[in-house]
Structures are given as structure tokens and as C-alpha cells.
């Protein structure tokens, strides 16, 4: 791949500007007024819903013809959850789940 340097720099600058904007806008907007109650409500109940979506998003790129390849992922996700319920150690849970997944995809795929 041969992308001109100017284009790389432009892309980085554009992305940086947009990222700063997404973070600055809420602060600018609510600097002088209290956030509405609906936002309080979303702040509380959106995170669990978003986590469900993010977990499920791991499965979205699996082609439907090859649905079997979702099994290692599902198994590893379940083990991650169980390890976390058992030890409640974030790093241990992630390490166990990821290691299991890497082993499974090497054995079965």
C-alpha cells in the first residue's frame, strides 16, 4: 500500500478534531444547565444494554454459512463470564477467556 504522507497526516488531524469535538460538546452544552432527567435515566440503564450489544458485535462478522465458527467464541465468552463470577479479577478473566479462544480456534478451525 502506498498512501501519500500528506493524506495520512490529514486523516489523523481530521480524526483528532472530531474526537475532541465529541468529548467537548456535552461539556459545552451542559456547562450552564442541568442535564434533563431523561439523560440521567439513560446514563443508568444504557451501559448494560451497550455491553450486551458490544459482546454480540463480536459475532456479527461470522458468515452465516460458517456458523460453526461461532462456537469457540461463545464457549470462550461463557468461560470468561464464569471465571469473572468466580474470581472477580478483570485481568484473570480476560486472560483465561482469550487463551481458551486462541487454543480452540487452533484445534477446531
Amino acid at each position: 500500500m502506498n498512501i501519500p504522507l500528506s493524506r495520512i497526516i490529514f486523516t489523523v488531524v481530521a480524526m483528532a478534531a472530531l474526537t475532541i469535538m465529541t468529548r467537548a460538546v456535552p461539556f459545552l452544552f451542559f456547562a450552564r444547565r442541568k442535564p434533563p432527567a431523561a439523560l440521567d435515566y439513560l446514563q443508568k440503564y444504557l451501559p448494560p444494554a451497550l455491553m450486551v450489544i458490544l459482546v454480540l458485535s463480536a459475532f456479527k462478522d461470522i458468515p452465516q454459512a460458517n456458523a460453526g465458527s461461532a462456537l469457540p467464541m461463545a464457549a470462550a465468552a461463557v468461560v470468561t463470564a464464569l471465571v469473572h463470577l468466580w474470581k472477580r479479577n478483570v485481568l484473570a478473566s480476560i486472560a483465561c477467556g482469550t487463551a481458551l479462544y486462541m487454543i480452540l480456534i487452533r484445534i477446531f478451525i
Partner: protein, 134 residues
């Protein structure tokens, strides 16, 4: 403000400034440290990522594993089934409506709308006094 990362958000909403430290200072250093580690990790990754001696195929599952962990934590603090059920439904719907490429955006928008529609039901059964934040 611009040092805001996901982890900073997670920490600030869970812990409180220790006694004897000015909260504003505490939050500032917390954010600065977080930013520093984040920067260090990204730089190290960019420099040495190519040089890793073993096959890293499947390592991206660490991301999914992190989300699983965060989801487990959420189930401990938000003990209502509606947000989870709504998210599953919206995710399936988004997958078939928008396809894999736009899945996350579509699912997020759908679930926002659904949660707002469910607001009366969720908050009605759960008065404001029962805030579950630690």
C-alpha cells in the same frame, strides 16, 4: 477534559477521592495517569507489535472478553432484565436491518429509542430513591 478515556470514566464513577485530597486535584491526576498509560501502551504497540515472536491470531478476543467482564459487572449493579432483553432484541433487529457493517451504530440507536420508550415501565417500578450507584 480532553484526557477523558473510557477507563477514566469507569474509575471516576466507581471510586471517590480519598480523604485529605482535594477532589479536583485527585481527578486531575487520575486522568493524567490514565492518559499516560494509554499513550505508552499505544506507542509500545505500534513500535513492537510487528516484532512479536508468536502467532497472535485470536488475540482480538481480549476485546470481547473485556466486554463480557464489563457486562458481568453491569449485571451486578443494574438488576433489571429490561435493558438486557431490549439490547438483545435490538441487536438482532439491527443485524438483519443494517447488516454487519453498520451493526453497532444501528443497534445503539435502536436501544436508545427502546430504553426511552420503556422509561415509564423501568422507573415506575423502581422509584428514584432506589439508586443503585455505589
Amino acid at each position: 477534559v480532553f484526557g477523558l478515556t473510557d477507563e477514566t470514566y469507569g474509575l471516576v464513577t466507581t471510586i471517590h477521592a480519598p480523604a485529605g485530597a482535594a477532589p479536583a486535584n485527585f481527578y486531575f491526576y487520575l486522568t493524567a495517569l490514565n492518559q499516560f498509560w494509554w499513550l505508552l501502551g499505544c506507542t509500545a504497540g505500534a513500535l513492537f507489535g510487528k516484532a512479536l515472536p508468536f502467532d497472535t491470531g485470536g488475540l482480538d478476543f481480549a476485546m470481547t472478553a473485556l466486554f463480557v467482564v464489563l457486562l458481568v459487572e453491569q449485571t451486578k449493579s443494574v438488576r433489571r432484565f429490561e435493558p438486557y432483553a431490549a439490547a438483545v432484541l435490538c441487536a438482532v433487529l439491527a443485524y438483519f436491518l443494517a447488516g454487519p457493517a453498520n451493526f453497532i451504530l444501528a443497534a445503539t440507536l435502536l436501544v436508545c429509542v427502546t430504553l426511552l420508550l420503556l422509561r415509564r415501565r423501568i422507573e415506575g417500578a423502581h422509584p428514584k430513591s432506589a439508586e443503585e450507584r455505589p
